[in-house]
Amino acid sequence: MKNSRILIKNGRVIDPAANKDEISDILIDGGKIISVARDIKNGCRQVLDAAGKIVLPGLVDMHVHLRQPGREDKETIASGTAAALKGGVTSVLAMPNTLPAIDSLKNVSLLQGIIKKDAQANVFICGAISLGRQGKELVDLARMRKAGVLAFSDDGSSVDDAELLLKAFKKAREYKALIICHCEDKILSAGGVVNLGFTSTRLGLRGISRESEYKRIERDIALSVRAKAALHIAHVSCRESVEIIALAKKKGADLTCETAPHYFCLTEEAVLGYDTNMKINPPLRSKDDVLAIKQGLGDGTIDAIASDHAGHTENEKDIEFERAEFGTTGLETELAAAATELVHTGILDWRQLAAKMSLNPSRILGINKGALIVGRDADIVIVDPDKEWVVRKEDFISGSKNSAFTGRKFKGVVEYTICNGKIAYKTETG
């Protein structure tokens, strides 16, 4: 019995749910947190000394591309969840742009089978809104919801047909599901590959306009408000989007949103030199947009940080810029990136960071995660907040190595990740 016990000693325990930030011990048994207190008596074999360390609820990343089934050359449930654990992420929402898309009960159960067999962290499922993510015909949302699908999104393909999306919102409301929108008007983004402006002009590449993002956000908010349904907006990247979302929230819309670390760490200038690891959709934007994203995180307009982890093979990335795939990996770097750019700079404190990366996404998805409270699942990450490290391509364990952060120095290292009461990751140098 005592063998399954783990005691975390003297860590600075951050719990956004209880609004707590204090030195404490945490005792884990049977996959659950059984005690959070000072000076818990040392009665178990495994004791983790967390003195000087930050103890956070395991991260919940609500935007992850695990690629399986269909694109196992990029990522698998096994490699993606291993990468997650290395980054302190204990729960992910798997996006449905797989082959086949997660658009039917059959494909949900196919995916659930792989998860059961291979997943090393908690994997929750986001289903497609339309069959094959084609934007033509609604999936059987009711039955997929009952089978355990938490959210619905056509992911990289924004639903162009407003009527179809309205129907999806109405169904989602009825069955208490969340609609997640990748907001992009493809007519306005028109084959673009970088932010429209000086960068696109300088590089001689087609630009992606800001309007292509925020005009679609405006439309999708309007539709969700009409249907009185919840809407979560994925990967917000520009100032206008933040402003539109802030206003809609003020007016009472049932609205949440996320951004990704690359939108507060990097500007469009990172693309100069045609580095395709910086080719991301929505694109890296201007300095002013980065400022707006940071402000939106600080003032609560932006609820969550998610990686939009998107692995691609070298063959799909190490080619002409306009032909390369969009996306960066992010699971292994997101906590360090956020600690470096948001906490160490004073934009967020650790409690707020834990809210953005764990509690808030849990609440948005309606899962019982994100808190360090007695009785909860023991999903915990221990972080050395001041240790510096440099991101190196050869250190990634994800199925793909296309990181926008390679070469960057971060402050904050994941030392231990405990998932469902077990030590699932331990840093080599820690």
Binding site: A190, G197, F198, G204, G273, D318, I319, E322
Partner: protein, 314 residues
Amino acid sequence: MNWTRKDLLGLEELSKVEIELILATAESFKEVSSREIKKVPALRGKTVVNLFYEPSTRTRVSFEVAAKRLSADVINIAAQESSVRKGETLVDTGKNIEALKADIIVVRHGASGAPALLARHVGLNVVNAGDGWHEHPTQALLDIFTLKEKLGRVEGLKVVIVGDIAHSRVARSNIWGLSKLGAKVCVCAPGMLIPPAIEEMGASISSDIDEALKGADAVNVLRMQFERDEEAAFPEKLEYFKNFGITKERLLRAKKDIIVMHPGPINRGIEISSEVADGANSVILEQVTNGIAVRMAVLFLVAQARDEKQPHTD
């Protein structure tokens, strides 16, 4: 100074001093083309590969002549007809050329940034002969060389570039190069052909060619390719000629000795009238001649940079 760059990818990354070094080197090579025997041994034993993914006659021939006058061996690959059609990637093609022990790749490609990709993956010298809408550095260098030859200086000159700026690599390279050398560049086109934030590159914008030509020392007339970009909004041909075409009447209101340049091939009656193209102000054919000297200089300098980095083993 010594030239240290393995590759010539664009003028944006070059300093004023580097551009001046190319121009000075070109000056010394220009004389070679007027000799009885038009050859120097500067690149003897070197192999230059012209790797062209877009149809091009004038640039490709110019590079070929330049390489041959330096005594290099030249291979021309028209990539539309080669193994590329069988799906070989640009990087693989580059590595194969490297395995042939060639020395310099001159690459023309429809994708902006393709020469940079190639340069990252091969040890050979890579010279950009035009990539997408990005840059066409040797064209801008020969334009600047011609200007300098005609007017004795570049600094302080007012140069108008008229035409499809949005889709022009020639315009971008000229803006970078001319601005670095202290010229004032004005781009002139209908609004739909001006790309966003071009003024941050150092150019002013005009939509009135008559206004733009006032006081200008030179006008560089871009080829209008109405057939090129189905999706972009283009002005109607005759209307374009009426509003932006460079005609004798227009030049009457400009400086008497204004230099008229064109990267070719020219569309008579579309962006330029025949009278102007063949007239006293035109330096279009001199540009072609100067292109040889400028490309000889570029090939010579990049080859030298690599030789310094990789000492001969013999």
